[in-house]
Amino acid sequence: MSEWTRDEMMTIAAARRLWNGCVCFVGIGLPSAACNLARLTHAPDIVLVYESGTLGTRPDVLPLSIGDGELADTAACVVPLPEIFAYFLQAGRVDVGFLGAAQVDRHGNLNSTVIGPYDAPSTRLPGAGGATEIAAHARQTFVVIKATRRSLVERLDFRTSAGFLEGRGARARTTMRGGGPRAVITDFGVLTPEDGSDELVLSELYPGATEEEARAAVGWPLRLAPVIERIAAPTPAELEALRALHARTRAAHAQPVRLPLT
């Protein structure tokens, strides 16, 4: 149990930032794993909201899609999707939103729309989905991304979702209600926005990761926070809970589906 992967470390680092009782707008993949890990460890009363309309859901296994039946079965209730966005997210009732992206820039702005020109893309990505409004209205957001010079970039090909815009208070001058990204969780450590400049700086490193590794994986001249924290390695309890969750999930998703007809 003492060996762990960077993927596991990312999930656990994200989970640790969540507190008991916080209301999370959960995306699929690592964010869903992190939120459910938090619920199964230190934050049993965390409230998980999925954009499919499930409020306060407590799945036993991770959903593959954002609207798996397990989410509905275990939710406090299911509301129509328009209400999730209008009455819960836009109304400022979400504490933490998770975001992924293909590109992040130094002010935490995100691209999940397109690589290359919008009208003649080299790679068309899935698009905004809920991200633009999560980025605007969640009280804070966490961005989760594997770091390379192609993902942490000097300039976005397209701005899908707002971080701190051009920085230096630009976001605070808009009508966005949420506070923007409080952490960009990568596979070497965590970037956080610097007060005043709103620029992402290196502030936390995983065990075994180095400043050099971080600089090599970031496409802009990465600056350092005054103090770089060394994140604690995953505990055996965290690893066990996470691996058990993934194992349950794999087993559940491998079950063949029985159709009424066949």
């Binding site: 699929i28 954009e51 499919s52 309309g53 499930t54 959903p63 593959l64 899609s65 954002i66 609207g67 798996d68 039946g69 989410l71 509905a72 299911v78 129509p80 999707l81 328009p82 966005f85 209008a86 997210l89 836009q90 729309t113 919008y118 009208d119 893309p121 080299s122 790679t123 068309r124 990505l125 899935p126 698009g127 905004a128 989905g129 809920g130 991200a131 633009t132 409004e133 980025a135 605007a136 209205h137 701005r159 899908t160 979702s161 707002a162 815009l165 976001r171 808009t174 009508t175 966005m176 209600r177 998703h253 491998a254 079950q255 589906v257 029985r258 159709l259 009424p260 007809l261 066949t262």
Partner: protein, 285 residues
């Protein structure tokens, strides 16, 4: 407007309600995706459709890959939890098999547009599209000034599809439809449409009073077609689960144009109906 004639075959419902060039929405957010209806539209060789859907995942990957769409209104296009919608990408990136105009939004924007459509308002309001380049590339995203505070609030034009297709658990002979589970924006998409066609797992004589349950009353439903398994490979709460393995396998099927076309020819176009489609997968999917 009694229920007489509302319960029809899926083939008849599509023939009656879908014409080339129409604006067509197939809704269902992960849950209750009307795959059988999509396949029947393909079998009837409809063309030049304006497809509308928040998440054009596999169902529209198939329709777009078969060349039946000229335009797409959407907010997220991928294979949920798996990766790309390859046929959608190929249409946008390379115009294959046909160029595809896109009208791109966010989930909150499409939701507001359906709600406006359902209420027969000409536009919907949201505090949305803030700080995004979408407003630069989509001229349909505009704004109005609040007459009380002066704040500018984003607007989207109402969505009123010519026809919306939904899938649901049950309907009765008069055309009342019962839905249980995750709703997405399907009720709003259905109420926004000029015609609403619903495929169902089961027909019953009469649905019981539902109190706060979700019912589409018969007088807003144009046609109901019995179609067990009609949401497969998505799922139906309380009936069958999502075939996550199918979604994963689709990545390989859809990555290559030829493989995709053969698969569709064999399983969809080569099958006379949804039951045959399901049976064909049992052998080889």
């Amino acid at each position: 407007m009694s229920g007489v004639g509302k319960v029809v075959s899926l083939g008849e419902a599509v023939a009656r309600h879908v014409a080339d060039g129409m604006t067509v929405a197939l809704e269902g957010f992960t849950h209750l995706i009307p795959f059988a209806a999509a396949h029947e539209i393909l079998r009837q060789r409809r063309r030049e459709l304006h497809l509308v859907r928040m998440t054009p995942d596999l169902v529209y990957d198939q329709m777009i890959g078969m060349g039946c769409a000229r335009r797409l209104t959407f907010s997220w296009g991928g294979n949920p939890g798996v990766g790309s919608a390859h046929r959608l990408r190929d249409a946008i990136e390379h115009g294959w098999p046909l160029p595809l105009e896109i009208d791109e939004h966010t989930h909150a924007g499409v939701a507001a547009a359906y709600c406006a459509g359902a209420a027969r308002l000409p536009f919907g309001l949201l505090r949305g599209y803030l700080g995004t380049d979408l407003v630069q590339v989509n001229p349909r995203i505009r704004s109005v000034e609040c007459p009380y505070t002066g704040e500018r609030i984003a607007t989207v034009p109402a969505l009123n599809p010519d026809v919306t297709f939904l899938h649901a658990q049950r309907a009765d002979r008069r055309g009342n439809v019962e839905i249980v589970g995750i709703l997405g924006a399907q009720r709003e998409a259905g109420l926004a449409a000029k015609a609403l066609v619903v495929t169902v797992e089961e027909l019953v004589d009469e649905l019981p009073p539902a109190m706060n349950g979700i019912v589409l009353p018969h007088w807003v439903v144009s046609a109901v077609a019995l179609c067990p398994g009609g949401a497969y490979p998505s799922y139906v709460q309380g009936r069958y689960g999502r075939d996550n393995a199918f979604y994963q396998r689709w990545d390989a099927v859809s990555r290559d144009r030829g493989t995709f076309r053969s698969w569709m020819e064999r399983h969809v176009l080569g099958a006379p109906d949804h039951a045959s489609f399901l049976a064909s997968l049992g052998a080889s999917a």
